[in-house]
């Protein structure tokens, strides 16, 4: 492990405030456990007084355990980091989250929060490890949560805007709830839409021609695979609002669970205008951002639901001018030499598909004799004849769509990669977030002098590799050259990156120990006092060293 440079100075604690979760989390947890256990009990065959007694004892024990954990878990905010201490006697964990590592601070209000008048703060660190679970979560009384979030925004995102001021800020694009419903339907990928349509057709066909329970299966597949995700999408993005203050973008939405997530522009890996096939035919698009460390369900923040393409482009220009640029018309498209490569690949794929289905047919045909009902037989025949024909047709159309749309265009701060075929994405990738590149030439590519490039980046769900279309290898290597050039000439530098997030300002935000929470339970003996510097932090620890030198990690 390399030693940190001599320039790094020790991290000193200068003050802070220590708090716990709001006690109502215990009620929420206990009720949840009780419901789960009760459902399990109902599903079992023996429901009696004795089993109910065991259930009550179990719930009581779980409550006592949660009370113990609640009592022994503290959150300390200093002027440089959040310290989550979980001392369970047998195990003790100390999690130090430096504010520089925070990718976003999200405020959520679920059904329990609404009942008890609290808010849940989710602290997401700029790493892919906590893509699904936030690094830390803290439940506070609503006003306290708002105050703390305002203070954190001031420190971590240089935005001295209070919750009240924020509420008065107008959204950067007017989004009606009708747009949200349209977004849920048309913003889905073409594959999802095709699945929904297929299941609908299957359900209707089963209703009239099949009496062996196929209808119920089709409805279940339709509901769980299509209707539920669609409804969840509407609920999640209901009452949508997006705005930018300084270098911080905030997205607010939610019907039952109100969520407000903020992230710094410097944490955005890429931003993309996504146009699924049906939406594209209607001239509409969706705007999304790839932000590492958003965590908790929404790994890809929606910046603009389905709107007209021109409006989405305009919003992108206003919301993230750092990454957006106008690509010259008819530039960066695939060379003509890419067409035969794709055509030959398509031919090979078509032959393979035909061979696979021919083999399936020869295997299935003897089994069908006298085994299947007339409806089942017609379904199998349709599947084995129509499906390969559809797949081959889609493969052929895919070649022409790819040749027409795919492009790579290098801008001053980002590279525009147009990828996909039926569902096109115009993705602006920040050069400084590209970790490494791979230019790959297949056997056909080498014959026709083309290659494709994989841009490897972090993503909210781990690693991500974005593949370009087929271009001349030298053109693709220029992306890597630009990434290196930005490092070499100082256009990208971590210190500068930090300064861009923590803009220098004359007036420093108020320190955390001046927080004026009303709830006494949130305080403990260290309230307002100055904790002693930790001996282990007299010099940079390994964790700090990694966090410092690797802002994207």
């Amino acid at each position: 492990m390399p030693e940190p440079p001599s320039g790094i100075e020790p991290v000193l604690q200068t003050g802070g405030v220590t708090m716990r979760n709001h006690p109502t989390v215990l009620v929420g947890q206990t009720v949840t456990y009780a419901i789960v256990l009760f459902v399990i009990l109902l599903m079992s065959s023996s429901v009696g007084t004795r089993s109910l007694l065991v259930l009550c004892v179990l719930i009581a024990l779980l409550f006592l355990y949660n009370l113990f954990v609640w009592r022994r878990t503290t959150y300390t905010f200093t002027d440089s980091e959040l310290h989550v201490c979980r001392n369970l006697m047998v195990t003790k964990s100390d999690n130090y989250i430096h504010y520089t590592r925070l990718a976003s601070v999200t405020v959520r209000r679920d059904i329990f929060n609404v009942i008890f008048g609290t808010s849940t703060l989710l602290f997401n660190v700029n790493t892919s490890v906590n893509a699904v679970q936030a690094e830390a979560r803290l439940v506070l009384e609503r006003s306290d949560a708002d105050e703390l979030r305002d203070r954190l925004n001031a420190w971590a995102f240089s935005a001295e805007v209070t919750r009240e001021e924020e509420a008065a800020i107008e959204t950067m694009i007017a989004v009606s709830n009708r747009d949200i419903v349209l977004n849920a339907i048309l913003g889905q990928t073409t594959a999802q839409q095709a699945y929904g349509l297929l299941m609908l057709v299957y359900a209707v066909a089963s209703l009239f021609y099949d009496s062996s329970g196929g209808f119920l299966l089709a409805v279940l597949l339709l509901v769980f695979g299509y209707v539920f995700p669609l409804a969840a999408n509407i609920i999640r993005y209901y009452n949508y609002r997006v705005f930018r203050v300084g270098d911080r973008v905030t997205v607010e939405s939610g019907f039952l669970t109100h969520t407000r997530r903020s992230f710094a522009i410097g944490k955005v890996n890429s931003v993309r205008v996504r146009t699924p096939l049906l939406a594209r035919l209607l001239g509409r698009a969706v705007l999304e951002a790839e932000v590492v460390g958003i965590g908790d369900e929404d790994t890809r923040p929606l910046l603009c639901p389905l709107k007209k393409r021109a409006e989405v482009e305009d919003l992108l220009g206003r919301l993230m001018p750092e990454l957006h640029f106008r690509a010259p018309e008819d530039s960066g498209g695939q060379p003509r030499s890419a067409l035969p490569v794709m055509a030959i690949s398509c031919l090979v794929a078509a032959v393979l598909v035909a061979a696979l289905f021919w083999a399936l047919m020869s295997y299935v045909a003897p089994l069908m004799e006298g085994e299947l009902s007339p409806f089942g037989r017609s379904l199998v025949v349709t599947f084995l004849v129509a499906l390969p024909a559809i797949i081959v047709a889609l493969l052929i159309v895919r070649v022409f769509l790819a040749q027409r749309h795919r492009a790579v265009c290098m801008g001053p701060e980002s590279v525009l990669v147009v990828h996909g075929t039926y569902d096109l994405s115009y993705e602006y990738v920040n050069y400084d977030k590209v970790q490494y590149t791979e230019v790959t030439e297949g056997p056909l590519d080498r014959v026709f002098g083309v290659a494709h490039c994989d841009l490897h980046m972090m993503s909210a769900v781990g690693f991500r590799s974005l593949s370009t279309g087929l271009f001349e290898p030298e053109q693709l290597r220029r992306i890597s050259d630009e990434v290196n050039a930005r490092i070499a000439d100082g256009r990208y530098d971590y210190r500068r990156y930090l300064r861009s997030i923590y803009q220098e300002s004359g007036d420093l935000p108020k320190p955390f120990y001046s927080l004026s929470f009303r709830t006494a339970w949130a305080r403990d003996s260290t309230w307002g006092s100055t904790p002693a510097p930790r001996a282990s932090r007299s010099r940079c620890t390994t964790a700090t060293w990694h966090a410092w030198r690797s802002p994207t990690a």
């Binding site: 035969p340 970790q435 230019v439 590799s465 971590y494 500068r496 923590y502 990690a553």
Partner: protein, 223 residues
């Protein structure tokens, strides 16, 4: 319709032969083996890349022999027990085809891989070119490197070889089949490069990473 013909393809055999060919006088890519892979007294090719040591071929052949043996055994078992696996009459033929393809691949691939593998380490980036059917050119900026490990598998250890694993936030890249001292040297060198790059920036950046905007605040406190 006209297509631009890459310069390296002038006067070389048809594509199918290029893909399959791996003789002594010509490179499978169509590049002359002697000119492209000739190394000077420093062990560098003309464009500054290093090639693998001959011992790497032995390691690759040994590992491929093991893979081929396992696949052949599985295919033989599948072909001999069609009544257990399934009633499709083509199973023995399919198993035979799979076995032949894997054996041919295992016999040919180490030589092609060895001839094509090149790596170069500059002050600012690491480049690796490799591949058998698909040729990949990986370019990793040194600034993006988080961790450098040296890995020694059991077969590589038999031949005194090791891999250098370079971890970035976007994934891991490896320089394979290096002699152990060379692997150690490269790992040390990359670590030093990363630290050196950061030290250089310390000269003009804020001095306290934990108080990035407090170049003024720290000073105030110190005062």
């Amino acid at each position: 319709m006209t297509f631009s013909k890459p310069s390296w393809r002038r006067g070389i055999p048809p594509p199918v032969l290029i893909i399959l060919y791996s003789g002594a006088d010509a490179h499978p890519m169509g590049l002359s083996t002697r000119s492209e892979f000739a190394v000077d007294e420093n062990g560098l090719t003309a464009d500054g890349y290093r090639r693998l040591v001959p011992a790497s071929r032995k390691s690759m052949y040994l590992s491929r022999v093991i893979v081929a043996a396992v696949v052949v055994v599985i295919c033989a078992v599948a072909a001999a027990n069609t009544d257990v696996i399934g009633s499709w009459p083509g199973t023995p033929y399919l198993a035979a085809v799979i076995a032949v393809v894997v054996v041919v691949y295992c016999a040919v691939s180490p030589e092609i891989y060895y001839r094509r593998y090149r790596y170069r380490i500059d002050d600012d980036k690491v480049e690796i070119r490799k591949g058998i059917v698909y040729i990949t050119h990986s370019m990793v900026p040194v600034e993006r490197i988080h961790q450098v490990d040296v890995s020694r598998g059991p077969i590589n250890r038999m031949f005194g070889l090791a891999d250098v694993l370079i971890t970035t936030a976007g994934g891991t890249v490896s320089i394979q089949y290096l002699e152990e001292p060379v692997a150690e040297e490269i790992a040390t060198s990359l670590n030093q490069s990363v630290v050196g790059m950061l030290r250089e920036r310390d000269r003009w950046g804020p001095t306290c990473p934990s108080h990035p905007r407090a170049s003024s605040r720290c000073c105030r406190r110190a005062a």
